[in-house]
C-alpha cells in the first residue's frame, strides 16, 4: 500500500477531461492550492466542479475558470468572481446553485453509503422544482441525491502516509465530507508524517477514505476578507 505521491502533478495526473471533482475549501480557506495549480498546469477540460465557492478571479477555482477548464460549477455561493460572472452570462459556463447544507450533506451521504438524504432546505423555492418532496411528522423535506464524483480533492493540515488527516480550525469546512465522497480521494497536507505520529483520537478523516496523499508546498493561504480590530478596542 503506497498512498504517498511526490507532488500535486503526480497525484492528479489521471484526472481526465469531463471528470467530476469535489473540491474542498470555504472561500479561500482550506483550499487544495497545490492540486488546483496542477490542474491548471495540466489543462484538463470540461470539468464539473463541486465546491462551496468558485474562488476569486486570480485564486482558487478562479484560476481554472480563467483557463476555461470548467464546464459546470455546482456551488452555494459564487459572488466574488468577475470572470465567473462573465462566463455565466455568456453561456460558456453552466452553474447549479444549491443550498450550502445540501452541498455538504450530499457529500457526506456519498461517504456514508447513503444514496439520498432528506432536507427541508429549499422547500417552497425554485430549488425544489422537479424534486421529490416527502412529509415526515408534518414537515416537508426534499430528497437530495448523494454526489457520485470521480475525484475528491482536499486539503488538510497534517496527514500520515496511511492517509489519516487532521484539519486546522475552520480550514476543515467541506474537506472531511468531500474526502469521504470521492471514488478517488487526493489529499494535500502541510505536513506529512509517519504512521503513529498522529493521535488516533485526533484524526478527522480516517485513511481508509484517502487514496493519495502528498505534502504540498508554498501555501499562500490568501485571506479574502481581512477584518481586524485595533488594540484599543
Amino acid at each position: 500500500m503506497n498512498k504517498v505521491f511526490n507532488n500535486a502533478d503526480d497525484a492528479i495526473s489521471d484526472v481526465h477531461n469531463g471528470a467530476m471533482l469535489l473540491l474542498g475549501g470555504f472561500g479561500l480557506c482550506g483550499l487544495p492550492e497545490n492540486c488546483i495549480a496542477a490542474l491548471v498546469k495540466k489543462g484538463v477540460k470540461d470539468l464539473t466542479c463541486v465546491s462551496n465557492n468558485a474562488g476569486v478571479d486570480d485564486f482558487g477555482i478562479g484560476l481554472m475558470l480563467k483557463q476555461h477548464q470548467v464546464k459546470k460549477m455546482i456551488a452555494s455561493y459564487v459572488g466574488e468572481n468577475a470572470e465567473f460572472e462573465r462566463q455565466l452570462l455568456s453561456g460558456e459556463l453552466e452553474v447549479e446553485l444549491i443550498p450550502q447544507g445540501t452541498l455538504a450533506t450530499r457529500c457526506m451521504a456519498a461517504g456514508y453509503g447513503m444514496p439520498a438524504i432528506f432536507t427541508p432546505a429549499g422547500i417552497g423555492t425554485e430549488v425544489a422544482i422537479g424534486k421529490e418532496i416527502r412529509n415526515f411528522n408534518g414537515k416537508d423535506y426534499l430528497m437530495e441525491m448523494a454526489f457520485d464524483a470521480d475525484f475528491a480533492i482536499v486539503k488538510a493540515w497534517k496527514g500520515d502516509t496511511m492517509g489519516n488527516l487532521i484539519y486546522r480550525a475552520t480550514a476543515r469546512n467541506f474537506n472531511p465530507a468531500m474526502a469521504m465522497a470521492g471514488k478517488i480521494t487526493v489529499a494535500e497536507v502541510e505536513e506529512l508524517v509517519e504512521p503513529g505520529e498522529l493521535d488516533p483520537d485526533h484524526i478527522h478523516t480516517p485513511g481508509i477514505y484517502v487514496h493519495r496523499i502528498f505534502q504540498g508546498v508554498n501555501y499562500e493561504k490568501r485571506i479574502e476578507q481581512r477584518t481586524v480590530r485595533k488594540f484599543e478596542d
Partner: protein, 219 residues
C-alpha cells in the same frame, strides 16, 4: 427611526442567556456587539465553528480561521470546530436557538426572499435556505421600505423565495413586528419618534394593531 446600530441593539434584546445564535451577514453581524455582557451566548458560524469571537488584533489574523462571511475572526474559550456537514446537521436538528438574518422581502405568512433578484447576477443562497428551512426562531433585520419607496413587508413576496412560513419576528428602522402563525404582521413596538400611522403607510401586508403600541426602549 432606527439606524443600523439601533436595529442591531433592539434585536440583541431578543437574545436569552444560554442561546446558540447564528448571525447572518450585514446588520445581523452587528448584533454580536450588543449582547449583554452577563449572558453566556455562543455564536455559530455555519462554516464550522461554535464560539466565534471578535475580529483579531491587527497582525494576528489567521487565514485558517474565518467566519461564514469569510472574515478573519477569533475563537473564544470553549469553542468547538466541526465540518460543514455537522454544522448544517446541528442547524437542521434545531440545536441553534436563534437565527438572525437580512431580507429583501418578507410576506405576512412568514415567507422570506433574500437571495436572488431576477435580471441581476445571482450569487447564490449560501447557507440561507438551510437556515430558514430549519431554524425554530428566525428574526429578520431589514429596512421597512426599499430604495424605490416600496414596502418590503408584503402580502406575498414578489422575488424568488428563500423559504416559506419561517420568519417569526422582524425588526426594521420603524418597528418590531411579530408574524402570527395565522398570518399577518402584528405590530409590537414603534421605533422612537415613529407613529403607528407611519408604520401603517410603510406596510403593504396585513398589519395587525391591538391596543396601544409602545415605543421601543433601547439603551
Amino acid at each position: 427611526m432606527l439606524d443600523k446600530i439601533g436595529i442591531a441593539k433592539r434585536i440583541a434584546k431578543e437574545i436569552k442567556d444560554g442561546y446558540y445564535v447564528n448571525l447572518g451577514i450585514g446588520i445581523p453581524t452587528l448584533v454580536a456587539n450588543y449582547i449583554p455582557k452577563n449572558m453566556d451566548v455562543v455564536l455559530q458560524s455555519e462554516n464550522g465553528l461554535l464560539g466565534m469571537g471578535p475580529f483579531p488584533f491587527e497582525g494576528e489574523e489567521d487565514p485558517d480561521l474565518i467566519n461564514a462571511g469569510k472574515q478573519t475572526i477569533t475563537m473564544l474559550p470553549g469553542s468547538a470546530v466541526f465540518d460543514s456537514a455537522m454544522s448544517f446537521g446541528m442547524i437542521r436538528a434545531r440545536k441553534v436557538n436563534l437565527t438572525i438574518l437580512g431580507a429583501m422581502e418578507v410576506s405576512e405568512n412568514g415567507d422570506i426572499a433574500n437571495w436572488k433578484i431576477p435580471g441581476k447576477m445571482v450569487k447564490g443562497m449560501g447557507g440561507a435556505m438551510d437556515l430558514v428551512a430549519s431554524a425554530e426562531n428566525i428574526i429578520v433585520a431589514m429596512q421597512h421600505i426599499n430604495k424605490a419607496g416600496e414596502s418590503k413587508l408584503l402580502p406575498q413576496c414578489t422575488l424568488p423565495l428563500t423559504g416559506i412560513n419561517c420568519v417569526k419576528k422582524i425588526v426594521t428602522e420603524l418597528a418590531v413586528l411579530d408574524i402570527l402563525p395565522s398570518g399577518g404582521f402584528k405590530l409590537i413596538e414603534r421605533a422612537p419618534g415613529i407613529s403607528v400611522e407611519e408604520i401603517k403607510q410603510a406596510t403593504a401586508g396585513k398589519l395587525i394593531i391591538e391596543g396601544d403600541i409602545p415605543e421601543m426602549v433601547i439603551d
